[in-house]
């Protein structure tokens, strides 16, 4: 088991803290094996074994990662809940397993993942390739769903913490105080389970559980305008000891200078060592003072040259699966080669439609969420990265596999879209019933009246007041009375 905390001051003055806990289990988790668990949590192990899961990625996120001001996210995740799972090819009914899996996960993590059904599940064909060991990528075994409405809070964090071998009693997890973690600009917790190679020869399979938690603290406002921060200021806790079960427990502090201003940071106490790594195409220095020339990637984001294309060119692969009402959502996948310094716009027209009245959420005027779009890219890196052993390198650099040093993998999520659908008047059915009933009652009443009223001949009488009045007037005029 390894644990790691990466602290990174963000350009805007915030501080991002990324926790990663990795538990490796040198056993085959597949169906049928008698299960005796040590560090690996039993709940997840049983789930993987029972449902035939090959790879599971669940992210619960509150807030949105502002790539423009914060830079690349260490681990991208869309707002809300995201779940994608690769199943074993021995699973007979993937849809049933997916349904059961999401229900069980919803129980484990106290999240409303049970709302995942066929209407918000897609099977991407180009993106979301397995991150772990895989032979063959039959995309029919993949399921992907996003619930943008999901609100992440303490009740999701507690079960997540319970999965850690040391709980929140020792090690880095001591810092995970819900009160502080949710008092932040961005909170994202995730669980990744995947099969990995047990050793370099890769003859046996081990299972890896990574629990990641990324949180962004707005230290600028909470620190009275100073950019200083400390663990205590952010988490209102300090680290006292390492988890005795962990084979590695490290804190990385990103002290790479961000721009030419050569802003010097002072880290106390003095770091034990200095680590230089290439992360996301960027040479990063951790816990030392070092100069880094701004890379092309950083400068390209600040470029403002716009070059609009009518439609994306060079699209070599387009996969479009149209939606079926109430059965499955739209899925549009495109493989595009983006020209340098360009802006690519993909627009989709949609019509607003009326839903069935039972399909509206309890607060229909809030709007309906459209899941964020996902951009997965292999970005060419300017800094050559040498192949490193996964076991040796820090955890924050080793979740996404990189084939060679010349490029790195990045997955970006856009903001979820909130669409206002026409909202009917929900008291309308009752109004309609009332109106119809009234019309029926009026018709019925007159009909009834007509049929049951007794008619009889009226004796001519001396007339009423009006007649007498008319006769008096006639008398005055000298006309014969009525």
């Amino acid at each position: 088991m390894r644990e790691e905390l990466l602290l990174r001051p963000l350009p805007a003055g915030d501080v991002a803290a990324a926790f990663q806990f990795r538990t490796r289990w040198d056993a085959d988790l597949r169906r049928g094996a008698v299960s005796h668990y040590r560090l690996f949590p039993k709940a997840l192990g049983q789930l993987v074994a029972a449902q035939g899961v090959r790879e599971l990625h669940l992210a619960l996120t509150q807030g949105f990662w502002r790539t423009r001001s914060w830079g690349q996210p260490p681990l991208g995740a869309p707002a809300g809940a995201e779940l994608w799972v690769w199943f074993q090819d021995t699973v007979p009914d993937v849809d049933k397993a997916w349904k059961e899996l999401s229900n069980i996960l919803s129980g484990i993590f106290c999240a409303s993942l049970n709302f995942i059904d066929s209407t918000n599940t897609v099977t991407p064909t180009a993106s979301f390739k397995p991150l772990g060991l895989a032979n063959g990528t039959d995309h029919r075994l993949l399921r992907y769903a996003v619930l943008p409405r999901e609100v992440v809070c303490t009740e999701n964090l507690t079960p997540w913490k319970k999965l850690l071998p040391c709980g929140s009693k020792a090690g880095l997890a001591v810092l995970l105080k819900a009160e502080r973690l949710f008092h932040s600009s961005y909170h994202s917790q995730a669980v990744h389970i995947r099969p990995i190679c047990r050793d370099a020869s890769c003859l046996a399979v081990s299972w890896e559980l990574r629990q990641t938690l990324t949180v962004v603290f707005d230290s600028f406002t909470s620190g009275q305008g100073k950019k200083d921060w400390s663990l205590f200021k952010m988490f209102s806790r300090t680290l006292t000891d390492a988890c005795p079960l962990a084979s590695e427990s490290k804190v990385y502090v990103d002290i790479s200078p961000k721009n030419e201003e050569k802003e010097f940071l002072e880290v106390t106490p003095t770091p034990t060592s200095v680590h230089k790594a290439v992360v996301q195409g960027d040479k990063r220095t951790y816990a030392v003072y070092d100069l880094l020339s701004p890379s092309l990637f950083n400068s390209s984001r600040s470029l403002n040259v716009q070059l609009k294309w009518k439609r994306p060119q060079d699209s070599r692969y387009i996969h479009y699966q149209p939606a079926q009402d109430r059965k499955r959502p739209h899925l549009l996948e495109m493989l595009i080669q983006l020209p340098a310094n360009s802006v690519t716009k993909i627009t989709i027209q949609f019509e607003r439609a009326l839903l069935k009245w039972t399909e509206y959420t309890p607060d229909p005027n809030h709007g309906f969420y459209v899941s964020p779009s996902v951009l997965s890219a292999l970005v060419p890196s300017v800094v050559a990265m040498k192949d490193v052993d996964v076991e040796e390198s820090p955890l924050f650099a080793s979740l996404f596999p990189s084939s060679d040093g010349s490029s790195y993998f990045v997955r970006l999520y856009t903001e979820p879209l909130l669409v206002n659908l026409p909202t009917p008047d929900f008291s309308m059915p009752y109004n309609v019933i009332c109106l119809t009933c009234t019309v029926v009652a009026v018709c019925y009443g007159s009909f009834y009246n007509l049929l049951t009223r007794t008619f009889h001949v009226e004796e001519p009488s001396r007339g009423g007041l009006a007649k007498r009045l008319a006769n008096i007037i006639r008398k005055f005029r000298g006309v014969p009375p009525l």
Partner: protein, 553 residues
């Protein structure tokens, strides 16, 4: 004349109006109301209400086939008939509930065959039992009793009854038939069912206070159980505890579970939890320089631990937890004290229907300088002994108090004799039947009370299947076929639970009657008021007309 004609026309007109009003009323009542009722009614398939009501009152008849085999020289002189002969002995089982339970021992008396006689010639009862087992094919629930002469040297001195590992027993003939009868009666009860085991199975129907303290200890009958062994290490800094749970499960637990697999499905798993602490701070005892947990604080131990145990994600079966707790270094050694203040020798306790906890103390290292963490390998034999005893206790197959003249063969590695399994099957079959009766009766009651519950055809067919299976199980019980009775009762439980927990039952539960009527009031009120008014008017006129002729006279 004109006035009379006008009056006559008037009267005709009035009666036409009356008829029209009556027609309206008739149409509304005869056509409109049924139509409305029919279209807004909740669908409910026909259910066997009579059968369900009868289930709760069905008398249990438990038939036990017993063969009594006489060896030469053991036949009592006052035997009523010539061997072989059959006899049926019926006796009520007092369970103290509304249900009648009757035991029916179908006894077959015969003399011994040559091969059985040869088997009984063994030196010890254990060898004789093994040899006899090879000769008989005893079905579950049946018993074979071999009567040996009073002076036989096969049984040790002082032992009159010997119960083997399988479904047979050896009994000394005793003085006369009456003594033998008494021994047989006691033996058959121990080896099949007693009033207390049946009462525990019928616990739902027995009023409180009439049950013994053990009655609610046993696990409820279920189609499967999950057994979880957890090693709690609250102090991983000083103790590095390792246990060979896989080997221990294969060696000690699996044979028992294989034997019990007739009763239910079992799955076994284990986990190690770190930093899991008990909810109670133990008291330090200066005299023994140890920490003590008193009996009355034990109920508070489980809850904080249970939060860490985690629920089983993969199945819905009840979970049996067995926890091995290694106390922190600062709280070692830790002992459990019973009510009298004496330390419990096993240092373990169990919680009814939940599982057991054992405290495993680690001896402090001889030299205080020993490096931490201290590596410890758990002695699994000691642990598994306790856990297996607790497992037997939780399943209700613990030994009852027996008179000293009874000797019980140790079941060996299987941990369970055949007749103990039969006892479990008897109890579970009766419990299953009682459970089904309760489930179906509550379903019927619910349907009676809440008119909005929909019963679809498939739910109804499950109910029919459950009723049929229960009747089947009862019939098989009366015939003495325990295995098939148990199978039928299991099917009945499955069907009845499926029917009771079917989600389609709840579909219309959130449309209460008052709302339904509120919606229809704008239609009903304007229609009903004229009809009612004209009916009242007609009534009034009719009454007046009845009075008028009497006035004329």
């Amino acid at each position: 004349m004109a006035a009379a004609a006008a009056a006559a026309a008037d009267e005709a007109e009035r009666s036409r109006g009356r008829r029209a009003a009556l027609c309206f009323a008739a149409i509304a009542v005869l056509l409109g109301l049924p139509l409305w009722w029919r279209t807004t009614e909740t669908y409910r398939a026909a259910l066997p209400y009579a059968g369900i009501a009868a289930l709760g009152r069905l008398p249990f008849q438990l038939a036990v086939p017993v063969s009594v085999v006489f060896t030469p020289g053991s036949v009592p002189a006052d035997l009523p008939r010539q061997l072989p002969y059959r006899d049926v002995r019926e006796e009520p089982v007092p369970v103290g509930s509304r249900t009648d339970v009757a035991a029916r021992y179908e006894e077959v008396y015969r003399s011994i065959t040559a091969r059985e006689a040869a088997a009984l010639g063994a030196a010890t009862p254990r060898e004789a039992d093994a040899a006899l087992h090879a000769l008989q094919d005893a079905s579950p629930g049946s018993l074979t009793v071999y009567v040996v002469p009073e002076s036989s040297s096969l049984l040790p001195q002082g032992t009159n009854v010997y119960m083997g590992k399988h479904r047979s027993a050896l009994v000394r003939a005793g003085q006369g038939l009456a003594a033998l009868r008494a021994r047989l009666q006691q033996l058959t009860r121990v080896m099949s069912f007693t009033a207390s085991s049946i009462a525990a199975a019928l616990a739902d129907r027995v009023p409180d206070g009439q049950l013994g303290p053990d009655a609610r200890r046993h696990l409820k009958s279920s189609l499967g159980y999950e057994i979880t062994f957890s090693l709690l290490n609250p102090d991983p800094k000083s103790h590095d505890v390792d246990w060979d749970i896989e080997g221990a499960v294969n060696r000690y637990v699996q044979p028992v579970l294989d034997k019990l697999s007739v009763v239910a499905n079992f799955s076994v798993d284990s986990q190690i939890l770190y930093y899991a602490v008990l909810g109670v701070t133990p008291r330090f005892d200066k005299e023994s320089s140890s920490f003590l947990l008193s009996a009355h604080s034990l109920p508070h131990v489980i809850n904080p631990v249970e939060a860490r145990l985690g629920s089983s994600a993969a199945s819905l079966y009840p979970v049996l937890n067995f926890l091995l707790y290694v106390p922190e270094r600062s709280h070692s050694p830790l002992y459990i004290q019973d009510k009298d203040g004496a330390p419990v020798p096993t240092n373990a306790f169990h919680s009814p229907r939940w599982g057991g906890i054992m405290i495993y103390n680690i001896e402090a290292p001889a030299s205080p300088q020993a490096s931490l963490p201290l590596h410890v390998d758990v002695d699994m034999v000691r642990v598994m002994e306790v856990f297996l005893a607790q497992l037997r206790l939780l399943f209700g197959i613990s030994r009852e108090e027996l008179p000293p003249e009874f000797q019980v063969e140790s079941p060996g590695n299987e941990g369970l004799a055949d007749w103990e399994l039969d006892r479990l099957l008897w109890a579970h079959t009766v419990e299953n039947i009682a459970t089904v009766a309760t489930t179906l009766t509550s379903l019927a009651q619910l349907l009676d009370q809440i008119s909005n519950i929909v019963i679809k055809d498939d739910v109804a067919s499950e109910v029919y299947r459950a009723v049929a299976s229960v009747q089947d199980a009862m019939a098989e019980l009366a015939e003495g076929r325990l295995r098939s009775a148990f199978q039928a009762s299991k099917e009945a439980v499955t069907s009845s639970e499926r029917a009771f927990f079917d989600p389609s039952l709840l579909h219309l539960l959130y449309f209460p009657d008052d709302q339904k009527f509120a919606i229809y009031i704008p239609l009903f009120l304007p229609m009903a008021v004229p009809i009612l008014l004209s009916l009242a008017k007609i009534l009034r006129e009719a009454r007046q007309r009845k009075k008028e002729p009497t006035k004329m006279d």
